[in-house]
Amino acid sequence: MEKEVLFDITHLQKYFPIRKGFLKKHVGDVKAVDDVSVTVYKNETLGIVGESGCGKTTFGKSIMLLDTPTGGEVLFHDRDGAKDITKMNAQEQLHFRKRVQMVFQDPYNALNPLKKIIESFEGPLKLHGIKDKAEREEIMREVLRVVNTNPDYLYRYPHEFSGGQRQRLCIARALEVGPEVLVCDEPVSALDVSIQAQVLNLMKKIQRERKLTYLFIAHDLSVVQYMSDRIMVMYLGHVMEIADSRALYDHPAHPYTEALLSAIPVPVRGAKKKRIILEGDVASPINKPPGCVFHTRCRKCMERCKQEVPVMREIAPGHRVACHLYDGAETVTEPKGEEQTE
């Protein structure tokens, strides 16, 4: 089945300038996202994993214009063709934001404690032009039913709810303007294990019912693998590997993916696999190592890794990796959705 392309992201870059001194001289950049190219398809869940500081959250924010990218192109496809979101005018941006919504990590900070739920929920609806009060209320009650909560919760304050309930409310708020894409930034990491499962299952159900596309950002690979169709592994603002979630687990190609997978404790007794312990820490995103950004911690580091930046290569259909170990494989410079077969 031909998959429909939703986002076509090429060489996305987001630098945060560091300014110092009285004249606020530009002394360097925090290179949070540095050259990310990926295609997102309709109705899929693209999982994004990596350690803290790898740029996964900035990536999520950049493609929905919460942070304006400093370079690269983000093409958003809809009925009227593709459009670069960085070049949209205000009207187009408003329309785009209605279609792409975000669920944030910490449900305790995402709801204004001074406002009743209904007040927090009305804002987006008003902004997107639903003027009739009764109609707004109908929509709000409907989304609360979708996330399995009581519609009367609208008249309560956030402090009356537990973490799991708050995260449901945050999901409901993201759904009320009828988006096609949800960017979920660590939606369950602040929740307890027994509540986590409830929220994950709910998100899967909503995706099926509403035909949503998810960008699921998390540091917990087991959660990402459970949720995602494809997984993108990031390290220091670069993409290390993209593959179907099963393939990524069965045949991790990049040494970083291997180490990441082996570091995750599995709740099965005696399932002790060979653990690859990564030495040291993640390098600074201000002074990135030359060549491959991972070479300082890589156990398969070669001489050329220290000088040359590896390019993305396709080693199997839909399985792309940026590592000099696979230099023999076919080079893929531009990610093209048409090349993938399902």
Partner: protein
């Protein structure tokens, strides 16, 4: 009593005085810790696992009331004999308690970012713990600190002792915190969620270090965690807690092979297992949410969320049943008829 027990806790009850009255947080907790083993205490937030440990170390505020039948610590003397310290009789600030805390029993806390003082050099902070319990010069103490840093895998220890905490990464800060806990060569280490604030690759480094401490130096470790994966990979014994009670105890092999309490098995099924999920299969969930401790009613604490709840679960106390040697479950399902 078993020969190589290091810590024995019987009927520990901790409650807090609040505006809403006295709220019991830890209820009738019993457990033994074997010398040279890792005991994992597992449970979700609010289940009382941290309060249990803080009650043992007497690190709770004035509004806490601790009662116990026994909290016995078997201290190994220099000549190899064992002296039993009855910790339940000691007060928070008594001389004996202070001699024990940090010297015999040490704690590693969850958040390395806030367990270190940002305005002192790390070397001085580690040294402070050493000077508290030993008479020695600062030079001698600093040499010991550097030795400790080396042992824990902190690179370039001679210079690193003169750095401030902000100059360390999260994983390195946690090593400094472990150094503070280890510097007096304690026999019992209590690690309260030691890796929750860290990335998985760093978590793997720290857990490897903890297992090494157990294997090479025969340390006893109580690991408080909510991560079943860490438990499976490191623990020898497991105690599962829910709403202030230990609902299941046993060896890690027993608990993972045969999770008997409905809460334990539900907890295990509700975490996604890497690579073992069947396509399209949903995670098992525990309905509802953990109740507020002040609303807990009579009967089994888990009754209102349990899918095997029976009429008898709703009232009265639930007995602790031994279903195989050393494997105890607090559930009516295992009541001998």
């Amino acid at each position: 009593m078993e020969e190589n027990t290091i810590l024995r806790v019987r009927k520990l009850n901790t409650s807090f005085k609040t505006e809403d009255g006295i709220i019991p947080i830890v209820k009738d907790v019993d457990f033994d810790v074997k010398r040279g083993s890792i005991l994992a205490i597992v449970g979700e937030s609010g289940c009382g696992k941290s309060v249990t440990m803080n009650s043992i170390c007497r690190l709770l505020g004035k509004n806490a009331e601790i009662q116990a039948e026994a909290i016995d610590y078997m201290q190994q003397e220099a000549d190899g004999s064992i002296r039993t310290v009855h910790m339940k009789d000691l007060t928070n600030t008594s001389k004996e308690m202070r001699a024990l805390r940090g010297k015999e029993i040490s704690m590693i806390f969850q958040d390395p970012m806030s367990s270190l003082n940002p305005v002192y050099k790390v070397g001085r902070q580690v040294m402070e713990a050493l000077l508290q319990h030993n008479k020695m010069s600062k030079q001698e103490a600093m040499a010991r600190v550097i030795e400790m840093f080396k042992q824990l895998g902190i690179p370039d220890p001679e210079n690193r002792v003169n750095n401030y905490p902000f100059e360390f990464s999260g994983g390195m800060k946690q090593r400094v915190v472990i150094a503070i806990a280890m510097i007096n060569n304690p026999q019992l280490l209590i690690a309260d969620e030691p890796t929750t604030a860290l990335d998985v690759t760093i978590q793997a480094q720290i857990m490897e270090l903890m297992v090494r401490l157990k294997e090479e130096q025969q340390k006893t470790i109580i690991l408080i965690t909510h991560n079943m994966g860490l438990v499976a990979e490191t623990a020898d014994e497991v105690a599962v807690m829910y709403m202030g009670r230990v609902v299941e105890t046993g060896s890690a092999d027993q608990i993972f092979a045969n999770p008997a309490h409905p809460y334990t098995s539900a907890l295990m099924q509700s975490v996604p297992v890497l690579g073992a999920m069947e396509e399209g299969k949903e995670l098992a969930t525990i309905p509802g949410q953990t109740p507020n401790p002040k609303d807990v009613t009579d009967g089994c604490e888990f009754a209102n969320r349990c899918d095997k709840c029976m009429e008898c679960c709703k009232t009265g106390l639930v007995g602790n049943h031994e279903i195989e040697p050393g494997h105890f479950v607090r559930c009516h399902l295992y009541r001998k008829s």
